[in-house]
Structure formats: C-alpha cells, structure tokens
C-alpha cells in the first residue's frame, strides 16, 4: 500500500516541479518579450497562462483526492499541503508573467528608455535565479537552499527601488517617454511581487521538511533596507548582514 501511495506522491511532486519550470519559463519569455519589444512572443505568453491555470487545477484536484481518499499523515500530509498551497503561488506568479506580456503589447511603438530596460533585465535575472533555487530546494527537500533562495528577495527589492527612482527621474525630465515609464513602474512592481511569491514557495519547503510555519520575508525591514541601500545611507550591523547575505545568495549556482 505504501508503495502505491508513494507513486502517487511522486506524481504529485513531479506535477509541481513541472508547473514550476513552466512558470519560470513564462517569466523568462514575458520579460524577453518586454525588453525585446516582441509582440508575437507576448501573445504566446498570454496564451500560455491558460496552461499554467490548468496545471494548478489539476494539482489541486490531485492533492484534494489524495487527502480525501488516502489519509496522509505526518510528512505525507505536509507534502500534500505544501504542494497545494504552493500551487496557488505558482499560479499567481504565472498571472504576473502574463501581465508583463500584456504590458509589452500595450507599450509597443512608444519611445523607450534603454537604461531602465537594462535594470528590468537584471531584476528578471534575479527573479529567475531565485525561482530556480527554490525549485531545486523543493526537489531536494533542502531547507538551506530554500532559505538562501528567500534571501535573494532583498536583492530584488533593492533593484526595484533603484529602478523606481530612475523611472521617476526620467518622468521628471522627459514627457515623451511617459507611457513607457508608467509601464516600467508596473513591470517592476510585478517582478517585485513575483519575488514575494517565491519567498512563499520557500516557506512551504521549510514547512514540508520541518513542520514549522516560518516567515522568511522580513517585510517592511526589507523595504527599508532597500531604500537605504539605494540612497547610500549608512546601514546598521544587522542590515549590513542582510545585504551581504542577499548578495551572496544571489550568486548564480553553476549546477542549475
């Protein structure tokens, strides 16, 4: 009986990982379409979101059925709950990616600001790096990887504040790029939100392996630190530690 149940759990895990990889691809393609002004690709991303939504529904169905029929306990129970809860975050990340693709279509033809688009590309790299790490943590049941993935969120927040300030400065001097700038603000906000959802994914990896419900996103502290870093203000010891850790964690992993 155990063997048969484990097969079903493996299938559920595989479904989760597959959905995660697909969502990560959506983020990549959405931002690629945005930076390269590729309307056709943007349309494909928007269409692709349907598939992500279907995957979420299937994952939910599988999880609910396992819970209702197989009486999972302890680690099995946590595994199903974390897959179920994570699938909502993944689905929402997919929605945000689709929204970035919508921005591509909306802004196409308007004048752009390459400097800011470069920042958006960098932010995207951080988001994807974070996403890959969290999926790796899930697949390996490794809470250390999960925690280090969550720390990257501060780097994303710093990049967000930096980009926001640049955008506002551009807005003040150039009215011709107003449409693009408004869109940039939307896109960086979406990327920043994706980072927060990935932190949630990391929290579920921790729950799954330890039965502890943790908060890996320091919330306001993160935002305050990000503002200070961008403004060049002096950081206290704890804040400095957070920034150093985030930088270290954001180093790309060659094995991924």
């Amino acid at each position: 009986m155990r063997g048969i149940f484990l097969d079903e759990m493996k299938k559920l895990n595989l479904r989760y990982i597959t959905m995660g990889i697909n969502v990560n691809e959506q983020i990549y393609l959405a931002t690629k379409s945005y930076i390269e002004h590729d309307k056709q690709l943007a349309k494909e991303v928007i269409a692709g979101d349907e598939k992500i939504n279907d995957e979420e529904v299937q994952l939910e169905k599988d999880s609910l059925q396992l819970m209702a029929l197989k009486q999972p306990m302890a680690s099995d129970f946590r595994m199903i709950i974390s897959a179920l809860k994570s699938s909502s975050d993944l689905e929402r990340i997919g929605d945000h990616a689709a929204s970035i693709a919508v921005e591509t279509i909306r802004v196409k033809g308007n004048e752009r600001v390459p400097k800011i688009e470069k920042l958006i590309a960098e932010m995207t790299d951080l988001v994807r790096n974070m996403m890959e790490k969290v999926l790796d943590a899930y697949a390996k049941d490794d809470i250390e990887i999960a925690k280090s993935a969550a720390k990257i969120d501060l780097e994303i927040d710093i990049k967000f504040v930096e980009a926001r300030k640049e955008i506002i400065a551009e807005m003040a001097k150039e009215t011709e790029v107003a449409v693009a700038n408004a869109s940039y603000l939307t896109v960086i906000r979406l990327l920043e939100r994706i980072g927060d959802h990935i932190v949630n994914l990391a929290e579920w990896v921790v729950y799954r392996n330890t039965n502890k419900l943790v908060e890996l996103n320091p919330g306001k502290l993160d935002r305050d630190v990000a503002e200070k870093v961008v403004d060049g203000e002096k950081l206290d010891q704890d804040e400095m530690k957070l920034v150093k850790e985030a930088e270290a964690c954001a180093q790309p992993d060659e094995n991924l």
């Binding site: 009986m1 155990r2 063997g3 149940f5 609910l64 059925q65 209702a68 029929l69 197989k70």
Partner: protein
C-alpha cells in the same frame, strides 16, 4: 466498463426476516468494489450470495437473479464446485487447513480433478507469487500452513483462491484480523490483483475502502443507498445518508 456481476432485485430471507431488500447492482470487472455499511446492513450476506455460500445456512430463501458473466448462478444444474472455483472467497480470519502450505494451495486443483504434478507445482508457485508470499515460503512448502503468522496465513488463503484461476475474488473483511503492516501489505496485494481479477470486498474500515477500491456501495438496512465511483462516494456523495455515514454520524 464491462460489468461481470449483475444482480437484479436480489432478495434474501433468513426464515421470514428479509435481510436483502431487492439489490440490483452491476459490478465492473477487474476493479475493486467495496461494500460498506453499518453492522447488520446485509453487506456480508450480499457478498456470500455471489458464490452461493448462503446455501449452507438453513432456512434461507433467495429470489431475484445473480448473473456472473451472464450466467444465472442460482439456475438449476449450476455446478457449485465450479462456481466456487470461478468465484473464490477469502474470509476475515485466515483459515488455512491444518496441512502443508503446498497442500493448502493445491487443494482446489485436486478438487477440480487436476492430477498432473507438474501443472500443480506450476500453479502453486504462480499463485504464491501473485499473493506475494512465494519468497517467504518457497523453501518450506511442506511446513504446516498454520505455523505462519496471521498475515502470511491470509496470503496462503489468497493463493489458495488464486490457484483455481478464478475470475472473481470475494473478500469478507480480509484485513480486520491483521496487524496494520500486514493489513497494508494485503491491501497492496489486492490492488495488484485487481489488474487481473475482479475483487469484491466487505469492509468496516472506511479508510480502507477509500484507499483501495474503485467502486463503493453503501448498504443500509438491507438496501443499497448509494453506489458510485469511490472518489465520488467519499468526496461528493449524492445522498445525505452517505455523507452522514462516512462522517461517522451513524453506524
């Protein structure tokens, strides 16, 4: 899905007391169908009527039909020995005969008139393998089967049924006398067997029904209240009574 067992308006009386009030069910082949319900609801009586085990009880009257592969098993001239080879039964208490493992498993074959030693050997091995006990007993086939543990004895009983290559296996609370590990192993064996055999099982253990069965029928007071796919019965039953029963409100 092809159904292999069809009962129509099956009524069974113990003396004047009506125990089954007209059961009409179609049981699909190569699936596990679980019969659940409170004590005395008629689920075991129904199970036993599928290979005429109730014939052994005095004062039983049966009306309606039970067809297996379109053959009415209550028709006159039904060969009961053949019927019970095609529709085997495993009971709550493991009940191997007090002789060797080999003789236990080959018993039904001898009853069926098979005398070829090689064929009997092959069938004994095949059945013990299907019952997932071959590795444990292959070097002591001549030991008394009653010397095995409860879970192992139950596997011998399953092998004994399999030896005659039945189409249907009836199981009456097959794991309720076993420890949780043995019970879980038997459940796994049942799932594997359902690829080749039709299994109808009675269980008091609703979790077991939800874990292993494809179809579930809820019996209450000699009637089938609801019969549907197991996932429907346990996740979205149509009848309030079913919901109440599986939530432990009665029974």
């Amino acid at each position: 899905m092809k159904s292999i067992i069809k009962t129509e308006n099956l009524r069974l009386y113990y003396g004047k007391k009506e125990a089954l009030h007209g059961i009409s069910l179609e049981i699909p082949e190569k699936q596990i169908t679980a019969l659940i319900g409170p004590s005395g609801c008629g689920k075991s009586t129904f199970l036993r009527s599928l290979n005429r085990m109730n014939d052994l009880i005095d004062n039983v009257t049966i009306t309606g039909t039970v067809k297996i592969n379109d053959h009415d098993i209550y028709a006159p001239k039904t060969d009961i020995v053949k019927l019970r080879q095609d529709v085997g039964m495993v009971f709550q208490q493991p009940n191997p005969f007090s002789f060797s493992i080999y003789e236990n498993v080959s018993f039904g074959l001898k009853l069926a008139g098979i005398t070829d030693k090689e064929e009997i050997d092959a069938r004994v091995e095949e059945s013990l393998k299907q019952a997932a006990i071959w590795e444990v007993v292959k070097d002591r086939l001549n030991d008394n089967a009653q010397g095995l543990s409860g879970g192992q004895q139950q596997r011998i009983c399953i092998a004994r049924v399999l030896a005659t290559r039945p189409e249907v296996i009836l199981m009456d609370e097959p794991t309720s006398a076993l420890d949780p590990i043995s019970a879980s192993q038997i459940e796994e064996t049942m799932i594997k067997l359902s690829q080749d055999y039709t299994i109808v099982t009675v269980t008091h253990n609703m979790q077991q029904a939800s874990r292993i069965s494809d179809m579930t029928a809820l019996f209450v007071a000699g009637k089938v209240v609801e019969y549907d796919e197991t996932s429907t019965i346990f996740m979205n039953p149509k009848e309030q009574v079913t919901s109440d029963y599986i939530n432990g409100i009665f029974g």
